[in-house]
Amino acid sequence: MKKYLYAITFLLAALTAMPAAIAAADLEINTPAIAAIQGSMQARHGQLAPYYASGAVGLTRDGLVAVRDANAVPLKDRQGVNSLVAAENKDRNALYKEIANANGHPEWESEVRNTFAQRWVQKAQGGWWYQDAGGGWAKK
């Protein structure tokens, strides 16, 4: 009888400690795969930045980027912008997936994506365009 009591007490103590430990934990982002994607995005940012500033490219509500106003891009550069956007989105999708996988919860991918979507906009420079919750474009 007594040993059951000990077992239950121990179980309860472990359970009360557990949520605190989990809440304090950081998300794992230091993996080679994440570092590689991050490096690739960082290298691309120099090319994308002018298009964010001109409004040609905006931040979407699903954590990606999109060509918002092709007319803001000279005709000769349009193909280049499309390629940049496609490459950036490929990296971003891979990044969200990798973060979820690195933490052992592939099903977190959409929440990771949503978190990033908000933080990209939060950290965007004034004058850049982003999609609001309804999907319309707004200028920061």
């Binding site: 077992a7 179980l11 359970l15 950081d26 991050q38 940012h45 973060i99 990033f116 933080r119 990209w120």
Partner: protein
Amino acid sequence: MKHWIWLLPAALILPACVTINIYFPAAAAEKAADKIIDEVWQLKQEQQNQQKPADAPAEK
């Protein structure tokens, strides 16, 4: 017979462990996102106590 009664809390508590573990850690995710965005957009030129380059000069 009597010890069966302890199976009840165990049956309730064990699934709770699993439930706790699947909560999405929103605050930690935000922190992780900020760190990655700062690096991708190079918003913080000054390294913040993490990931000091190996060839960095000695501590100031």
